[in-house]
Each structure stands twice: as structure tokens, then as C-alpha cells.
Symmetry: C2
Subunit: 246 residues, 2 copies
Amino acid sequence: MTNQLNLRIDRSSPVPLYHQVVQGIEAAIHTGLLEPGSRLENEIDLAAQLNLSRPTMRKAMDELVRSGLLVRKRGVGTQVVSSQVRRPLELSSLYDDLSNNGSKPTTDVLSFSHEEADAVTRTALHLPAGAKVYHFTRLRKVGGKPLALMENWVRDDITAIDEASLGSQGLYAILRNGGVNFRLASQRIGAMIANDYQAPLLETTPGSALVTMERTAVDDTGRNVETGHHVYRADSYSFEMTLVQR
Amino acid sequence: MTNQLNLRIDRSSPVPLYHQVVQGIEAAIHTGLLEPGSRLENEIDLAAQLNLSRPTMRKAMDELVRSGLLVRKRGVGTQVVSSQVRRPLELSSLYDDLSNNGSKPTTDVLSFSHEEADAVTRTALHLPAGAKVYHFTRLRKVGGKPLALMENWVRDDITAIDEASLGSQGLYAILRNGGVNFRLASQRIGAMIANDYQAPLLETTPGSALVTMERTAVDDTGRNVETGHHVYRADSYSFEMTLVQR
DNA sequence: TATGTTCGCTTGATAGGACATACTGCCTTT
DNA sequence: AAAGGCAGTATGTCCTATCAAGCGAACATA
């Protein structure tokens, strides 16, 4: 029961202490040092062992509880729930997800324009009449196989976007480099049947199943930066997530 | 700039102070008293006005930041991001969602059995060989129109389930009444084409688009309580969510 | 033996203080 | 006039303390 969980806390590091603890426990869980179902020592002892105060220890455990790795019960203790928590859906882009996954995504820019926003786009991005946006369509492939067809509209008063950069990196990377700090996004996931336009591009047949995703992203100044409509081949892509009860 | 936000804190209430603050600010945002983009007073002043300590005030604001309603910037202040944060996907069941929405869902139990779990189910629920589970299929309708076809497997060592109760209430309500405290669930959302079995039940045609959802739910003791495979008519249902960048 | 009560352990909530760090705008300097 | 530095302000991190509340097991009682 006495888990040593050999953590080391570096007080000279710029990384906050509570975050070092979070990373340490996460690592212990993922390496199997802490098995699912096992109980941790109590907060006070753990804090004492690491020479931390109890609030700091608690803050670390709070994060782990939030992310679903730990469960606390008053009067009982804290135990590991699962090592299988996926936490995508944190405003990552498809490009990043694929890159982190070891795949090598490529992007074909099918269309690109800098045009006046239509009514729907103006509503989605909270733009006044006459405002212009970047509008483009991209086809993303992995290993030469098409995976997603993406149409996006982006405000033009943030950073310049050109066709070449869209072909070499993800949209979110471009925007982040342009100084955008994303804060939240609302998205809707559904399904549709591939039409005659989508099917050949995705190298499938009309009538096959597609996963659809519509998303609008907001930055830290409250601007709706980007909105888009994506479709994915259902046989190659699905959205995985972990829900945590609070 | 001086937002009074007339909050009242009831110290005799069993509701934690920080949570009272959370509810108060949420209400102020949703009623429009605090507009998106407006700045709040600083933490220390707010705490002083409510006769709270700064940690308590911060804990309240932490929750609001987590849920995406507020954004904090060091050296600048805290401001309201949006009043349009949806927070579904918090382990609610379809039945609850529809009920809260004012609709009146009905459930047809198409099949019901108490049987030995097959290998796939045993893996999903972490059950030993020979363990039994409840296995049932339900068709959910709203306003007489079929919406979802749901197949579920539930451990039988938690609470008894019978066909009648499944017809009158949601699965999660039954399990919660049976003493289950859900903690997290992992789910996968995708798409497929309606087959000859699904189409007539959902009153659609084979070949139409369906949204698929697979979910496994875990309770606070670490047991995998339930796993299921659901399909929804794509023209009537989609998953909406708000992602928060941390 | 069975049942009810109490006590100790663990997490939950709140307080108040001290110092660190990032951002903004003003003021100085060139 | 433009660029750089500085100070003020707000949040970020971390600490010590203390009481409350839930849970379970041991103990006492019928």
C-alpha cells in the first residue's frame, strides 16, 4: 500500500510545484507503477513526503480528479480510476493530432480566396456587413489516403494567410503563430452521406458514410476567429473522448 | 466598470461559499448583467465586498474559467468570454437530455435478457469468464418519431433491472437509483450507413446516414458498469459540445 | 449474536499572508 | 517623435492554520 512513487520535486524549476506533482503522478499511472484501483496515501502524508503544503498537494490532485485519473472520497481516500483516459478534444487541430500520432499528414489546398463574408459566415464570426474573410477548402491525407475534406472561413484582421503556408502546416499552427490564443470552441458532430462532390475527393463512393464536424473557435479577446465545416471518412475517423462527472 | 453583481452569500447555507459565488456569477452572465467582454473587478476587491477570503474567491473563479465562462490574464484582469457555453457531455443520458429539453421521450424495449457475457463484453466491462450481464435493445422515440436505437450491456451485480422499468425511465436513472455513482465514461462518435435491420426501426431507408456512439461508463469504485452501442438518425441528432483550452 | 453508537481517519472548506510574474501604460531618454 | 525602462496592478503560486463532514471499523450494549 505504501506507494513510494519516487517523485522528485525541483524547486528551482520554473514549472509550478503542483504541476510537477501532476506530471509525476500521471507518469506513475501510465507506466503502471500505480495500478487502476490502487489507493494513494493520504494527502497529508504525501505532502509531507514531498515537502509540500497540503493545499499544493490538493491542487495537484484536483487536476487529476478533473481529468478523470483519480477519484477522491471523503473519509475513505483517493484511488486511481483508470489509466485509459483520453483527453483529446482540447482544442487541438486534426493536423496536430495526426502529427503527434506519428503519422505524416499532407494537405492539398483545393481552393483559396479572400472574399467578402456571406450572411451565414458573418453571423458565425460576429462580423459586420462588408467584412472580408479568408475562405478555403483543404483535403487532408495520411499515408497518401484521403481522410478529411475541410472548408473554413477565417477573419482577415488577425494575421495574413496564404495558400502556401496552408499546404505545409495546420490552420491552428498558423493562427497561433499569428498571435491568436484560443480559448474555447463550440462544435457539433454528426453524420451524412457522401455526395458526388465529396466522394471522389475522399476516394470513396457516393452514399458512403461521413462524419461531419462544424466548429467555431473563440480567442482570448472574445473574437470568433474561425468557423469551419469538416467531413471525415467514417471508416477512418471517429471522435474519441472521456467524459468526467463533476 | 464597477459591477455590483448584487450577490448575496448565505453563510448558514450548506452550499459551499465558493459554489454560491459560482452560481451567482453564472446567473449574472446568463441574465446579461455581465456582458460578454466586460471585465470583472479584481479578485481581492471582489473577495472583500463579499467578505470572503481570496482563496475562496479564486476557487469560484477557477470553476468558471474551467467551464469557459471567464478568462483570466495575469496583469490584466478577468473578463467574461461568452454566455453561450454549452456543457453537455457531462455524463448525462439521452433520456435526461430530452426530458430537460421539454420533450417527452418514450422507450420501446425490443429485447431483454439476462445472459452470460460474451468475450467482447467481458473485456469492455472487465468481467471474469462466466459472469452474467443484462443485455437489452431499446428504441427511443420523441413525439412518436424514432430517434435512437440503443443496445446495452450492464453488469448484474449492482442492481436488478427489469424490462418494465426500462420502458418507463432512462438507464442512467435506474442505475443511479441503484446506488451507482458514475465517475467517467469514454465514448467514441462516428458514422455509418443504416442497414436493413436498423432502417425500418428508425423509420428511414437503408443507406441513410446514422450517427454512432459507443460508450463505456465507470463508477466511483472503478467498476465498468455499462457499455453500449447506440445509433441515431443523422437528420435528427448530433453531438454538441464546448471545448475549453486550458 | 445482532444492533446501534462512538471515535478516528480522510477529504472538504475557508481564512489570511507572502512573494513571484506578466501585462499596461506612463515617463524618461535619446 | 520613437524607443526603452520603470512602476503599478492583477493574477499566479505557495505557505500555515483550522474547523466541518463523511465514512468505516471498533466497541459497547441489548
